[in-house]
Point group: C2
Chain length 341, copies 2
C-alpha cells in the first residue's frame, strides 16, 4: 500500500502518536518552559511570575476551513495546523503575553490520510516557529475519532510579571492603533470562494488566499504594546468594526476611525478588489481572521514597532453611547458571527 493511502483507521492510537510526536519537537527552540512534555496524563509548564494566561479555540472542517474551495484550492493539513496555532497564539498576544505552551486535541474521521495528519503537525510547529513564538512548545494532546476534522488548541502564556492589557481600558484622548493587517484574510476568502483558479492570480493577488489559510498574527506586537503602556488591546478576529465596538463597549468610549487610515488599509487590497469588483473598504471594516491587534495608547506615546495609528478614542456623547464612528459618523457594524445569518 502506498504511504499516501494509509489512513488513521489502520493505525492504533499509540502508532499514530508515534508518527506525530517526533514532528512536534522544535529543534533549536527555547523550550525551557516545558517542565514535562507529552506522554503522561498531563503536561507541566513553568509559570515564573505565578500566573498563567490561557485561551482555547477550535477549527472545524467546513466551518473554519473547507477541504476543497470553489476556486479549486485544497486545504492542506499544514494549513489547518498553522491556522490552529496562529489563532490561539493571537489570543495570548492580545493580552500582551508570550505563549509558553500549546496542547492540541485532534478529532479525525477514520479515512483521514496519516500523511495529512503528519502535515498538520508540521504546520502547527511551523507557525509557532515562523510567527516568532520562540518560547512556546507543544506540550501534549489528545486524539479521537469523529465524522469531521476538528482541531482544538489551548495555549498558555506568561505576562513576565507585567499587567495584562484588557479590552476595557481605553480612555478618551487615546490613540487607536493597529498592528498587522485588516481585510487580507477576507479578500483571500473571497478569492477562494470565487471561480478564479489560483493559477490565474498574480503574485500580488495570491498573497490573500495564503493569509486566509495561514494567518500571520504580529506576535511581537502584543508584549511590545504592553511595555509601551497600551491602555486596551484585543485581537481583531471578527473584523475591525465588530471588535472595535466590543472595545468601545468594554471601555464605555467611542472608537473614532480616520477615513484616511482606512483608505490606506484598503489600498493594499486593490489587487484583490479589482479582480472581484469589490469595494475593499468592506473587507477592511468587516473582514475577520487576519488576527491583527487593535490597541489604544495614551496620546503622545510613541507607538511600538508594527503599530500604525488609525483613529482616536472619544468620550461618548450625551445621547449616543459607546460605539464606533468614522470621522465622527456612526459606522455600521459588520463582521462574522458563528450562529446568526
Amino acid at each position: 500500500m502506498p504511504d499516501s493511502a494509509l489512513t488513521v483507521s489502520r493505525l492504533s492510537e499509540p502508532e499514530l502518536l508515534a508518527r506525530i510526536f517526533p514532528r512536534l519537537e522544535l529543534p533549536g527552540h527555547h523550550a525551557e518552559a516545558t517542565l514535562l512534555g507529552p506522554g503522561d496524563d498531563a503536561a507541566i509548564i513553568a509559570a515564573p511570575d505565578g500566573r498563567t494566561v490561557i485561551s482555547i479555540d477550535t477549527q472545524v472542517q467546513d466551518q473554519d476551513f473547507r477541504l476543497e474551495w470553489p476556486n479549486g484550492y485544497r486545504t492542506t493539513g499544514f494549513d489547518v495546523g498553522w491556522k490552529a496555532a496562529a489563532q490561539n497564539l493571537s489570543d495570548i498576544n492580545a493580552m500582551g503575553a508570550a505563549a509558553t505552551s500549546l496542547v492540541v486535541s485532534l478529532t479525525l474521521p477514520p479515512d483521514t490520510p496519516v500523511a495529512w495528519v503528519e502535515d498538520l503537525a508540521d504546520g502547527l510547529v511551523a507557525a509557532v516557529r515562523e510567527l516568532g513564538a520562540e518560547r512556546c512548545s507543544v506540550a501534549g494532546g489528545d486524539l479521537g475519532r469523529g465524522r469531521e476534522i476538528s482541531v482544538t488548541a489551548a495555549v498558555i502564556g506568561t505576562l513576565d510579571g507585567g499587567r495584562p492589557v484588557l479590552r476595557s481600558g481605553a480612555q478618551p484622548g487615546d490613540t487607536v492603533a493597529l498592528a498587522g493587517t485588516a481585510g487580507h484574510a477576507a479578500a483571500g476568502l473571497a478569492l477562494l470562494e470565487s471561480d478564479i483558479p489560483a493559477s490565474k492570480l498574480s503574485p500580488a493577488q495570491q498573497v490573500f488566499p495564503s493569509r486566509q489559510s495561514r494567518p500571520r498574527p504580529p506576535l511581537a506586537a502584543g508584549p511590545a504594546a504592553r511595555q509601551a503602556g497600551a491602555t486596551a488591546m484585543m485581537d481583531i478576529s471578527d473584523g475591525l468594526l465588530r471588535e472595535g465596538l466590543r472595545l468601545a463597549t468594554a471601555g464605555g468610549v467611542v472608537v473614532d476611525l480616520e477615513p484616511g487610515a482606512l483608505d490606506a488599509l484598503a489600498a493594499v487590497l486593490a489587487p484583490a478588489a479589482e479582480i472581484l469588483g469589490t469595494d475593499a473598504r468592506e473587507w477592511v471594516l468587516g473582514g475577520g481572521e487576519d488576527h491583527g491587534l487593535l490597541a489604544t495608547f495614551p496620546a503622545g506615546v510613541q507607538l511600538p514597532e508594527g503599530f500604525a495609528a488609525i483613529g482616536s478614542i472619544q468620550a461618548p456623547g450625551r445621547t449616543d453611547g459607546p460605539g464606533v464612528t468614522i470621522a465622527g459618523r456612526p459606522a455600521g457594524t459588520r463582521g462574522w458571527d458563528h450562529f446568526a445569518h
Copy 2:
C-alpha cells in the same frame, strides 16, 4: 415559540454566551485562582508555585456518547457537560495536582436546542462542584458551529509546590493500589447498548449506566497519593490492563495483580453481569472510563483514604520484559482504542 424549540441557530454568539456565562458561575466556590475570568481574549489563572499542570480532552457525539442509546436512554446536555469536566479533572488528579481552572470549546450543530446547551453548562459546573474540585472555576471558552456536537475542555491545575507523580516511577516491591472503581462504566455501556430499558433495571443495576454518563473520578485521591509518597500514578481511562501495561512499560517493571482483589472488584458488578450473562472480570480488566487512579506506593506505606491494594510491582524476568501479570501469569491486554478495531 416554546423555549424548548429555540435552537442555537436563532441566537447570535453574544446572545448564546449571555445565556451560558451566568450558569458557569460557582456560588460559594473558592475561585481565588481566577485572576481574570471570561470576556477578554484570554483568562488569567494564579499559578502560586510557578508551575501549571495542563491537559486537554474532547468528547464527540456518537464516539464518546450517543444522543440516544439502544436501550432508549437519551443523553442529556447535563451528562455531556459532566463527563467533559470529569474526564479532564481526572487527568489533573492523576498527576497528584488540584484543578484551578477549566476552559471549554463547544462545537454545536445549528439545530441544537439552546436548552440542551444550558443543561450542558449546568452539568459542567455540577461535576466541578460535586466531584470536589473546589478550587476550580470555568474561566473561559469558545463557541463554534459543526455537524456534530463536540466538547473540548482544557484543565489547568497546581501541584502546590509538590512533585508530580509520573507514570514512570514504579519500583519492584511497591504496592499497586486502585482508587475509585473499575468496570462500572463498561458495565453501564453494556446496559445502555442492550435492549433492556432503564425502567426494567433494579436500583443496583441503574448505577452502572449513570457511571458511564457521569463518571466520578476520585479527585481527593490524587493529591493524597502524592502526599503519601506514591511512586507512580495514572488515570485508568482505557482499562486496567491496558493502562497497567503503560505504567509497567514506563517504569520498566511488571505489574502483578492479585486474583482475589480482581474478584472483589468483579463482585460489585454482579447485578449487571447477571442480567447480561457477562463475565464481570472482563469489565474489571478491560473497561475504561471509570477514571479511577492506578498508583504505586513503597511497601509498608499506609495507603491514603480511597485506595485499595490490588497487587504489587515485580522486576521483569530475564526473558520477559515489562508487562501485566495476574498471580504471575501473563494477562492479555484489553481495553479500548480510538482508531484500531
